[in-house]
Amino acid sequence: MVIEDQYAQKTTKEDQSETGEVRHRSSRLRLASPLDRLAAVIVDLFLVIFPVSALVGAPFKREIMKALILQDETEFAFYLVMITLSSGLVVIVYQTLMVWLFGGTLGKMFWGLRVERLWKHRRPTFTAALLRSVFWLFDSLLAMVPHLAVFSNEKRRPFHDRVSDTVVVTIKNREARSPGIIEASFVHGVVAAFAVFMVIFLTFSSFDYYLDAKSKDPLVSSLEEDGSLCSSVGEAAEDWPTVDGETPDRLQVAMALFAAGEVAKSCLSAEVDLKLVREGEESPLAYLAQSFVHADNAELSDRYLARVCELAPDSDSCKMSEVVSLWTEEKWNEVESIFGALDKTQEHYIFVWAVRHYVRRGDFHLASKYLEKIEPRRGLGSFLGMQRAKAYWGLRRLEESRAAAAVAFETLGPAERIDLASWMCYEEVEASCQGVLQKSCQLLEKAVADSGEFLLDAKVALSYIKQNECRKGYGKSYDELARNIPLVPARRLLFAYNLRSKDQVAEGRQVLWELVNDSATEEEFREEARHLLVQWSTRAEDLEALRNDWAKEKQNQNWRKFGLHLVRGYFELGDYQRAFSVVEILGDRIYTDQKVGQQAILAAYHLGKRQEAWGLLQKLNPAAPAEDQSRRPASADSGEFEMIAQGLKKEFAGK
């Protein structure tokens, strides 16, 4: 509806018949300046409308705050309407009375403005004042945009003035002229732009809302609204095996899913809260879960671990808490003896941790044994697929591993898929460069081509470099690879490769040496650098130089890991003397790696040091596998070792 400005059409109407008392408008209008009108509004707002509205609406404001905190939408909406109505009422009552009785509000009076009837020098009637204040409020609620008509209307009359047949004039010498064409056009443009913006905004908002509502599963929505519990735990719990005829505890399910990497820490935290806060129950499992939730805070995590055994010293949870403590201390043998003692447990989460432990430690026999104990359940499918692929690979059941991986690739999420693909591809190309033709490498290649972000992951970047190395002549150049991979250590590694390809092996080894000793570099790259450094030292004198440098280094984790590589390097060169000399320096530290332990025994045996070989064999835990096998190829055939070990046992056992 458009309210026409009659004044604009009929310039004067002062001759209209009225009673004699009426003072007809005989002179031109002294229109109020828009800035004066704005200033008057500000004065009204700050002096009257805000304070009185705050006072009148205070009880509603308090209720709105309560409703907001308690997320009570009905109460919130009700009190929002109430506070809007009360503030609106203040505006209407104040403006109506002031305009009707005095011809202007306090602000208008302060700035010498008056509201008059359009045709007479008189205050508006009560009805006109009421109509004007109601529509003033209405205009204000539309983000004040209709008020902009003071810049475009010929007599500077916004909608509320036109509805009530009023005009705002000044009684001071600050009158404004009618707006010019530029001023009016500009305001029309602003209003039109605002209208278009609102239409676009509302259209997109409605569309978004519709899509959002359509995409949400009702069950998920209700769970999300209900609280912070994760729906994935509840869904898995429904499909979980019963223990002694009883349905499993949600926390047990959450622990297994968390161990499998299928749910986030927040989900586990929510389940613990359910147990400890809502039910107020202490339980060893809840405390064990808390130790995982607060793993970032070592002191707190240790307190939870201690509390598990205080509460139930004989429970499986207590044994698992000991495993967690021993992991931190890297006491692998003790960890494995506890896992051995937990053989009869019914707790799935322990099996899951055992699988992860043994796969990481490279003991694929035990990993596959625990894998068999885990019944395929909803929520664990991805984990089982991924770990089976790794365990079979470690057991040299390559085709089964590839088949398990192929199935897992179909079910895994994008992040897990690329994780498994990078692991498999690394192993494939480490075993043979023909591996680049396998599905894992193709998947890796495709994933990286689709999104370079995957190359931000150290493991993915390493696998990618490795498989490219196998495509010699057909793959990307080192420079091109370095441009694609944003990680600095990866670029340093590529630089070393590049130098080596230009027959500058010594310089390449120097780059690797710096990478090995850079404590700020990710461990994956340092381990790869150690591996390459020994691999590229094909001459005995190169290895000797490395050994001399290594002997001068501080004896820390890096030193120990490098020593293990040196033992391997010498052993593979057939230099048992030097291999054994490194073993002697490393001492008991060689037992962190089963393969090196075996090589040390073999070296001693070949040197005729049978007594020392037997001593080493006694200390070597047969279950202790190669360290950091997650990035190393599976153990080589240990037939020779088995044979020599049997011989040593026959010779020395019982003596």
Binding site: L35, L38, A39, I42, V43, F46, L47, P51, V52, A54, L55, G57, A58, P59, K61, R62, M65, K66, I69, L70, F110, G227, S228, L229, A270, D273, L274, L276, V277, R278, E279, G280, E281, E282, A286, Y287, Q290, H294, N297, L300, R303, Y304, R307
Partner: protein, 323 residues
């Protein structure tokens, strides 16, 4: 924006008591600022620790649930939601818990159910927090459940929670203090200032009850000065500075406004603030302001009656117009 300006800040010799009050306030602010920052840092650090706040929230929820009659329906509802697993409510209660004296006092020996490791950790941190509060000037000199004696009704008036709090109170102390001092004398001003502050503390304790969070600041006393000034100059136009956010000449400057308008704006803001806020959340002590304003009005009424009895005239007529 409109602010009473009156005669502005007068020289020391024109209003020595006002200056003296400012100097004492400033001295206290400077003397306690270092300790304030250190102690506040410790408290902020504790309150940024999610584990501490969440543990505190869940134990507070248990405590409220066990003492339903001693808490408002709103707090009971919050506790119920927190115990039902609403993490936001747990955090909220964790943030509010320190204000509740009953809970803080009973917590160390209270048999809380659930996570005993969290309880042990939280109590250790709570103890550390208590030690930080022992060093905090607001807790040492402010009015709180541990410091409700008359000595603290005086000392709290000279402690501020930060520079902004201090600056606002001091601006209004100068505006009303300087003017009133020339009107009623230095001693009377001092009595009104300290008396308003003390009655403001009493009003706060009466309406809000003793809380663990301390009451600090000169605003109760300054509210008393403002109310007395407005009462004495009820209908007299007083000089105010205004700025209407319009960056054009002519829309800012000085204007004369009747004092009752200033009083109305001030009281409306305090009353609206008090009625519109949740007492459990603390914040600005509106009730202390209202107590100070009531004191100003009562003192003004007494002065009016005394003057009338003595001279038979309105004090208002005898007084010069504010300029």
């Amino acid at each position: 924006m409109i602010l009473p300006y009156l005669n502005g800040i007068l020289r020391f010799k024109d209003c020595p008591i006002t200056w003296l009050l400012f100097i004492v306030n400033a001295f206290m602010m400077i003397a306690t600022y270092g300790e304030l920052m250190v102690a506040q840092d410790s408290i902020d650090k504790a309150m940024r620790d999610d584990y501490f706040v969440e543990s505190q929230g869940s134990f507070y929820a248990q405590f409220i649930s066990d003492h339903k009659n001693q808490y408002t329906p709103f707090m009971n509802e919050l506790s119920l939601r927190a115990l039902s697993g609403d993490a936001d409510k747990v955090k909220l209660l964790g943030n509010l818990a320190l204000r509740n004296d009953l809970f803080i006092k009973e917590a160390p020996a209270y048999p809380f159910k659930g996570d005993q490791v969290a309880k042990g950790w939280w109590l250790e941190k709570l103890d550390e927090l208590g030690q930080a509060q022992q060093r905090h000037p607001s807790f040492l000199l402010g009015v709180s459940v541990d410091h409700m004696g008359l000595r603290h009704w005086l000392s709290y008036q000279f402690v501020h929670s930060g520079w902004l709090h201090f600056a606002f109170n001091m601006i209004f102390l100068f505006v009303f203090g300087c003017y009133l001092e020339s009107l009623i004398g230095g001693l009377a001003l001092l009595v009104v200032y300290l008396g308003s502050g003390m009655i403001a503390a009493g009003t706060f304790l009466l309406v809000n009850g003793p809380t663990s969070a301390p009451l600090v600041g000169a605003s109760g006393a300054v509210s008393g000065l403002m109310a007395l000034f407005c009462f004495l100059h009820w209908r007299v136009p007083v000089r105010c500075f205004y700025w209407l956010f319009i960056p054009v000449k002519g829309y800012s400057g000085f204007v004369y406004v009747p004092a009752w308008i200033i009083f109305f704006l001030w009281v409306a803001s305090d009353l609206g603030g008090h009625l519109g806020s949740l007492p459990e959340f603390g914040g600005i002590a509106y009730t202390a302001h209202l107590g100070g304003e009531a004191t100003g009005i009562i003192v003004g009424s007494l002065m009016f009656l005394l003057t009338r009895m003595r001279r038979g005239k309105s004090l208002d007529k005898d007084l010069p117009a504010a300029s």
